[in-house]
Symmetry: C2
Subunit: 226 residues, 2 copies
């Protein structure tokens, strides 16, 4: 009687991905690069937020952006038009970016030239939450028009992220969005989550977010020098 | 030498799903029930559109709603509060509903009592497009705040749907959304796609959408009697 060979597909996929993500984090640390994974629904404002952030932080850091999309190059074109550096990943149908895709993107970047990399994940509140990309910080954007109930439906995304950026705050009066209701719900499932209210369009709240992000980057760099 | 046993996971999953979806369509036809699969990003207004549609069409048809969410029962509660009948599917992490989930939901419904079933899919512009649920009509909602470029990034969803509902049209002046740009892009990848501009909130355009939907239902019922 032979032993049964059991292949657990899902466990194996995520374990492999986690190992690749750890290797990416090591490589980033060796090059003193801090990476931020930005996730949201389609159209919540990931590209606009990255551009607004880049414009403020580019005096202090050299920044690169990895754009993840199923198809098209519109977002990386936008980043480049706004004076940034960008690499486009086309996932060819996959609804998230994983560590192997980020590894391929990073191999095209000379890490010695950069301090900060933003990943703009595929617009999706579900699958991207499950895949470690090797980033040092996970940030989700929720835009006001999406509503304050999204945490009830997509709890994992709210659970895994370090910060929540409420975007399009300039149009809050046109939508049924209760910030305090959302804040109370967040405090129940992820009490450490830092929350920002911004408008990437008008610039409201962007300085506060950039100040906090800059502190995270500096703190990471200090820890590398210990 | 033995033959190699090759298991193509993805092909097998979608082929199995397609067979189950066909069986569901047969069962619906036997019971003269028309089913519509509604898909969109999180927060684009699926529930609000279904409620607005239900209020107009419920004088003519008996309607049931199958709500698909990863977690929570908020949407089915909303349908019931608005006088509708609803079944909640909790996918437990899955980012779409498939035919087996719809089959399980339909088994809880007495089909003889209904003419129309709406499926509210999980809020996601990617994976739901890949899975046939057994519905007779696929409809996607794109809300104005998401932007007019989504067709470049999520082409499959725009390709598989019969109709596109542009929702939240009442706030178009606050966002950079060019309806003609979107329309031209749609005409290139899915020229047969019917496009509606609505506001589920103010009621604008809902009558036109309901008239068209009603024609599709009546046409289906006529074809069953041939």
């Amino acid at each position: 009687m032979t032993d049964i060979k059991l292949i657990k597909i899902k466990e194996s996929i995520t374990a492999d991905n986690d190992r690749s993500a750890d290797l990416i984090r090591n490589e980033l640390a060796n090059n003193k690069v801090f990476m931020i994974n930005i996730m949201s629904s389609p159209g919540a404002g990931k590209t606009s937020l990255i551009i607004a952030t880049m414009k403020i932080l580019q005096n202090k850091y050299h920044i690169n952006v990895i754009e993840g999309d199923i198809d098209s190059t519109v977002d990386s074109e936008k980043i480049i038009r706004n004076g940034g550096d960008a690499v486009q990943i086309q996932t060819g149908g996959d609804c998230h970016v994983d560590a192997s895709m980020i590894k391929a993107a990073i191999e095209t970047i000379d890490l010695k030239d950069y301090d900060v990399i933003f990943i703009e994940n595929v617009g999706n509140l579900v699958c991207p939450a499950e895949f470690d990309t090797g980033a040092n910080l996970k940030v989700m954007i929720l835009s006001v028009p999406e509503g304050d109930d999204k945490i009830l439906k997509y709890p994992l995304m709210f659970n895994v992220c370090d910060a929540l950026i409420i975007n399009k705050i300039d149009c809050i009066e046109f939508f049924d969005f209760d910030f305090n209701v959302l804040k109370n719900r967040v405090s129940l499932i992820n009490p450490k989550m830092k929350i920002f209210q911004v408008s990437a369009k008008t610039g409201e709240g962007i300085i506060e977010w950039c100040d906090w992000l800059s502190k995270q980057i500096d703190c990471y760099n200090k820890s590398l020098n210990l």
